[in-house]
């Protein structure tokens, strides 16, 4: 009997596995047949469930499932990844590990510059030293420029004549910082970004109906003028006429982009300081050296950047706020098309707490913003595109929920606006956010380096995606489907529901669910 049942099960497995063998077995007695038949049907149902579960992921298990999830990348493993001349010997393993398990907090400051494209994955120690020095110098000059701009801006407003635009990403997608000798001095404030030849860089989704340039539209300051040792060459500050002063400040116009920047450096300067002093202290336990900063150093930094209204804060928070101001201001000069938009400080704060040097934090932020800047564009193209992707994922995955959203006129998924803009920062805790971002950065780094295609099976089924976070956001909404549908909540209440997800989400579950969505729909979405 047991033997017969075993054979049944084996044959059922064969059938279920697609091998349509004849499974009839003479067991001699009808009653036994009936029992076995019943057992088999139950077994088949169970197997069917298993098969459906497996096949919907194409036989792949999520790297974020509880069983397969890797441990975070540790110092010892990290050191072992390098050759004697300091080159990463296996970028694929490195990125897969980060993607699946995150990075141990103690080595984040070493790992992030690779993830965020400051250092090429194939760079050597020598190259990184050179780039590091260059970056430090460029940042120093950006800060110098800021001090001059904002000193003048405080009084009269500023006119920038020498802001120059250039493509900030090379064709291989790695953030490149133009060497001094390749730069030409320009005297223009128009955008003349280079068109990338790489089709991957031009995200075109005709189905979505929005074409968004992911690259080469960064407005940043010519680094040659910044590198100049001559103070006369920059910045060009002049005293505005009465009319111009009445206009508050000079707006930067863009030749290519018709949307005018209705904001200016003075406004950015004010809002940056406002947001810096209200940054929370969630990072403190993760950054003991910065938490222990002395009052003297904190106040010195605060004065240097002209921080205001900070007396109520403890020294480490003042120090943190001052660093936020320094880096964000530098960014407004570097990328004046985006300037500063509220929410950007949310993205920078974790970087500041991990990277102890301002110039490192700045360039990591620049790397992060190479994608995230589209969230803050004045024309909202970036945000609309992303909301549409979330909407489409939900539509593909759960037509019933999508129809319900349509009925509520909420199919535009505006209710996930905040999640998209600040990449889950408001919904996840500090530690959760970093894990989520690291997975996202690992995907982006793999795409940038063109190694996503060598990820074995993953290449076919669940390739690294620029939009990993959008899948995770869709997953968070799908987790709420019951509430949304059964409680018949209104569109307004969905916003409230999403905004109150804070503290209730499990980052691994989100990534695991996101993986499922990537497997099933990435070919339809991208």
């Amino acid at each position: 009997m047991q033997f017969a049942m075993l054979r049944w099960v084996v044959q059922i497995i064969e059938v279920a596995g697609g091998r349509w063998t004849i499974w009839y077995e003479d067991v001699g007695r009808w009653n036994a047949f009936a029992v076995i038949g019943f057992t088999a049907i139950a077994g088949l149902a169970l197997l069917g469930t298993l098969i459906v579960t497996t096949s919907r992921r194409g036989g792949l298990k999520s790297p974020w499932s509880q069983r397969r999830r890797k441990k975070s990348l540790l110092l010892r493993q990290w050191k072992n990844l390098f050759t004697s001349d300091g080159k990463l010997r296996d970028s694929v393993t490195f990125l897969k590990n980060v993607r699946s398990g995150g990075v141990d907090h103690d080595i984040r400051h070493e790992v992030w510059p690779f993830l965020l494209g400051i250092y090429d994955l194939n760079s050597s120690d020598v190259e990184r030293n050179r780039i590091g020095k260059q970056k430090r110098k460029e940042y120093k000059n950006l800060r110098k420029k800021c001090r001059n701009f904002f000193k003048a801006g405080d009084i009269n407003g500023v006119k920038i004549k020498d802001a120059v635009i250039g493509s900030r990403e090379s064709n291989d997608g790695c953030i490149s910082f133009m060497p001094e000798n390749e730069l030409e001095a320009k005297q223009s404030i128009s955008i003349e970004g280079e068109q990338s030849d790489d089709p991957e860089k031009l995200l075109l989704d005709s189905d979505i109906g929005i074409v968004e340039k992911e690259n080469s539209d960064i407005t940043h300051v010519d680094t040659k003028s910044l590198d100049s040792d001559s103070e006369e060459e920059f910045p060009v500050i002049y005293t505005p006429t009465v009319e111009e002063t009445e206009l508050q400040n000079v707006k930067i116009s863009h030749k290519r982009d018709s949307s005018k920047i209705a904001e200016d450096f003075t406004i950015w300067q004010r809002i940056i300081r406002l947001d810096a002093i209200r940054a929370n202290g969630e990072w403190i336990t993760y950054s003991p050296s910065q938490a222990a900063i002395s009052e003297g150093i904190a106040y010195k930094h605060a004065e240097e950047v002209g921080l205001k209204d900070y007396k109520h804060l403890q020294p480490c928070r003042i120090f943190h706020a001052a660093r936020l101001v320094a880096v964000l201001e530098a960014y407004t000069v570097y990328d004046s098309e985006i300037g500063y938009c509220q929410g950007m400080s949310d993205l920078l704060a974790p970087i500041i707490s991990v990277m102890e040097e301002d110039h490192e934090a700045f360039w990591c932020f620049v790397g992060f913003m190479s994608k995230a800047r589209h969230n803050f564009r004045l024309d909202e193209v970036g945000i609309q595109r992303q909301l549409k992707i979330v909407s489409r994922i939900i539509k593909f995955k759960d037509a019933h929920l999508y129809n319900h959203l349509e009925m509520l006129q909420a199919q535009d998924c505006f209710f996930v606006y905040r999640m998209v803009v600040v990449l889950f920062r408001r919904e996840l805790t500090f530690a959760q956010t970093l894990t989520m971002w690291e997975a996202m950065w690992a995907d982006q780094a793999a795409i940038r380096a063109g190694i996503g295609k060598s990820w074995g099976l993953i290449r076919l089924r669940a390739p690294p995606t620029e939009d990993l976070l959008l899948y995770a956001i869709a997953a968070s909404v799908l987790q709420k489907r019951k509430t949304i549908i059964e409680r018949s909540i209104s569109m307004d209440e969905i916003i409230s529901e999403c905004n109150s997800m804070a503290g209730q989400l499990d980052e691994w579950k989100l990534l695991d669910d996101a993986y499922d969505l990537v497997v099933r729909f990435h070919h339809k979405i991208s």
């Binding site: 904001e263 202290g281 509220q342 509520l408 409230s496």
Partner: protein, 215 residues
């Protein structure tokens, strides 16, 4: 009267909180809806909202208050939420002159995107910071009179006038609505307010039934 459930109300009034970044909009909202104040309140990204149900003249009114991002960049998104608002609390910071100077721009926003009959109150917030005052109460009062707005100085931190500010707006809206309802009753001999709540549009005397609150 027994305490009504959150979804049992006579009227739903949508109110928007607008004004420059950092004037204290989110804290005014949390003070009014949760009696809470957070010194580290983060910037609002897009829009958020909270509700509070209260009694005005024996009627249960649910105030749905939309808190909006102050930065110009978010204006396109936030202004979409002016639609259907029957009240607005326009906030400036009495310690920051520029936020007061921008009141006119915010009024322009309301005129451009909100119902023309919207009830507007201007609030000079942070009035606890007397030593840092940059806008006098008289200046505020003068502008309010010129623009035909109600006016109060408030402090979300010390819970000064926050209740009064919303109470005034809601009372005024209710007054308009009940006057219109009375007129409608006289002409159509209409029944009393529906039991499942009514969303009020100030330009519409009958209001529209809120379909989502049936359970």
């Amino acid at each position: 009267m027994a305490k009504k459930m959150d979804n049992e109300y006579d009227y739903l009034f949508k109110i928007v909180l607008i004004g420059d970044s950092g004037v204290g909009k989110s804290n005014i909202l949390s003070r009014f809806t949760r009696n809470d104040f957070c010194l580290e309140s983060k910037s609002t990204i897009g829009v958020e909202f909270a509700t509070r149900t209260l009694q005005v003249n024996d009627r249960t009114i649910k105030a749905q208050i939309w808190d909006t991002a102050g930065q110009e960049r978010y204006r396109a998104i936030t202004s979409a939420y002016y639609r259907g608002a029957v009240g607005a609390l326009l906030v400036y910071d009495i310690t920051k002159k520029q936020t007061f100077d921008n009141v006119q721009r915010w009024l322009g926003e309301l005129r451009g995107h909100a119902d023309s009959n919207i009830v507007i109150m201007m609030a000079g917030n942070k009035c606890d910071l007397k030593q840092l005052r940059a806008v006098s109460e008289e200046e505020g009062q003068e502008l309010a009179e010129k623009e035909g707005l109600s006016f109060l100085e408030t402090s979300a931190l010390e819970a000064i006038n926050v209740e009064k500010a919303f109470g005034t707006i809601l009372g005024e809206i209710y007054h308009i609505v009940s006057k219109k309802a009375l007129a409608a009753q006289e002409t159509a001999a209409a029944a009393g307010p529906p039991s499942q709540g009514t969303t009020i549009n100030v330009s519409d005397s009958t209001g529209t039934k809120k379909s989502c609150c049936s359970n």
